[in-house]
Symmetry: C2
Subunit: 355 residues, 2 copies
DNA sequence: CGAGCGGTTTAAAGCGCTTTAAGTTACGAT
DNA sequence: ATCGTAACTTAAAGCGCTTTAAACCGCTCG
């Protein structure tokens, strides 16, 4: 039964402290000007009244809103993690975050509109699917930071991990374990998958394994991973490397979810992981870290991405930067229990622990 | 390079339409009063200018904010689903939603404060962990709806599914398939697990299987499910039903994640699901629905919960209800491929499909 | 001794919209 | 004609805070 207890207003604080609202306002926002005596009086009064500034009113009066808008896919745990870190980073810089979830019935465009209604000063888009042209158009009117994917859109800042390098790390790790036949499970069409696939191809080339290149169709979920597992067994495989029929002894998947589906199907089919086949995922998601899953994966270091993204936004807002930037972070390989030296038929349940 | 294009103001619309801002305001909000001619003129002008009301200003002027605040755990996909439906339901009633995610560094209290700063008119808390006393205190000053769990807190509205009934449905389904030894994997301490466990116990009693009651420790994640799988094989089991050593032929898990961990461990240990053992989860999460997983589960019908929750909030806000309500919805069993008649050793990969 | 000056404080003008109360108009009723 | 009234329309007063420009207050300086 909320009985509007007449939330105290700035005026109340001011009069209780015996000063003007102007002084009170300055003190409460820590601006220079008011003397020590005034400061103390105002702070005391505010404390006693339990005063909290009415954000709506301040936003209206101030030109600034100090609000960063974030669009995200709520069903993605990776986005969830990123959001946590964005919150923290924004907090540090005195910004607040408004989240606008994408849903089946609420596409990116609507989500962005909603953010603009809140008068967000910058838009942080997590893995945006908007075409580059739309991004560029948006960037003409607003500050926008695309997070987690490449974007060839004029004016937008980009913060992403070097996915090609990340896949490279995975391949090299497997190579180091003695694997020579390493397959790649592709992701859903889009800039992210393209880059990861590229990373795979180049790494194989670099290691002199180019003719063992095997890319099977996949996708971004468990389902696709399972399908890919089936594909890996099929004779098609040998068509890619005519003459020799050889099963890959290691697989790098587009992401952890696909890797999970893959793992599940392989194990149900009696394939020992990592004994018979090593598997590497991508994202270092929470689920990969579970002891039960213990999946070797590549981390996009979400915390660093989040910090960089918020930094990019505040540089524009507070430091007046106008030239777009692209920040590419180095991903990290996290070795766990689904990768093992080739030929090691002992399933190592515990696996190699990350540091 | 956002070049503040001087977003049009109500005044601009009004003068272009040749009327006062008062009329324009009325027209744009669809309030009765202005005549047809005025209406048209204003709407035209607004369209031509691409006018969008400045929410901040309206909020300040109006007493109302039409904002519902939602706290949620971003890492929970169930919360994610619920959020989608909340958005839709709020939309229908002309409300907007502000999401305040809980993170490691941002507990429920802070999340709620942030919502209040936005002047949300009601708080929708998804599976709140705040003690009942705190909920009650909060409810003295604000409208609060607790979603998904029981709450004995004065003044708060509760919208939840009858979890005991849900587990009962699962048990009865298994019973119908011929299972007589049905175990339950418990969840994390808390009101939710208590209720589900109760549902399990009562269902067994009802079916005359009370002496086959087996509750093993579990938890809310894959990890715990896997541990539980181990427990189910141990000799302890036989202690519960002394004299006869019998393995359960079916297991109901606290939630889908635990069920997943359980499934994984069972299958790795060579147990056929559903051939040897049937497994039922809870939540009917996205992952349960994946063809690869195809987990029989109990749905909390999130859409109905979301609608009911928003309805509860608007009833207070718009219809002036002051007495708290508790809405208990009937969950639904969704039969998929992890349950089969007892003794049926054929793994039915496709499983029974839901309608 | 008055002008000049930092350091403080504050009156008052908004921010962009809503809303109330007062003002118009047009018209049929008296 | 006069008045009342219904149907619109609008001037103006805020909503609660920020901010600008002016006012104040000792004091030092020429």
């Amino acid at each position: 039964m909320p009985s509007r207890p007449a939330r105290p207003r700035l005026e109340d604080v001011a009069s209780r402290a015996g000063v003007s609202t102007a002084s009170a306002s300055l003190v409460l926002r820590g601006r220079p000007g008011p003397g020590a005596a005034t400061r103390e009086a105002v702070l005391d009064a505010a404390r006693e009244l339990g005063y909290r500034a009415d954000r709506t009113a301040s936003l209206l009066a101030r030109r600034r809103t100090q609000l960063l808008g974030v669009t995200m896919d709520v069903s993605s745990t990776f986005h969830g993690e990123l959001l946590e870190d964005l919150q923290a980073a924004a907090d540090d810089r005195g910004y607040d975050i408004v989240v606008s979830p994408l849903t089946r019935t609420r596409d990116e465009r609507r989500a962005v509109e909603s953010l603009l209604d809140f008068r967000c000063e910058a838009l942080l888009l997590l893995g945006p699917r908007l075409p580059d042209a739309d991004l560029a158009a948006l960037a003409e009117e607003h500050h926008v930071v695309a997070i987690g994917r490449r974007a060839q859109a004029a004016g937008v800042d980009v913060v992403r991990a070097a996915d090609d390098v990340g896949v490279g790390l995975a391949v090299e790790h497997l190579f180091g374990l003695g694997h020579r036949h390493i397959a790649f499970v592709d992701g859903p069409r889009g800039p992210i998958a393209t880059l990861r696939r590229q990373g795979y191809r180049r790494a194989l080339k670099r290691l002199g394994l180019a003719d063992g290149t095997v890319v099977v169709d996949g996708g971004g979920d468990e389902e696709s991973g399972a399908r890919a597992a089936a594909a890996l067994h099929l004779p098609q495989l040998s068509k890619e490397a005519p003459g020799r029929v050889r099963m890959p002894s290691a697989v790098v998947a587009f992401n952890d979810r696909a890797a999970l589906g893959l793992l599940d199907r392989l194990r149900r089919d009696g394939v020992d992981v990592p004994g018979d086949v090593s598997v590497v995922g991508y994202d270092d998601s929470l689920i990969a870290r579970l002891a039960t899953v213990d999946l070797t994966s590549v981390s996009q270091i979400p915390q660093a991405m989040a910090t960089a993204a918020v930094e990019a936004a505040t540089q524009r807002l507070d430091a007046g930067r106008t030239e777009p930037v692209e920040l590419v972070l180095e991903p990290q390989l996290v070795v766990r229990g689904t990768t093992a030296p080739r030929g090691d038929t002992t399933t190592r349940r515990g696996g190699i622990r990350e540091p």
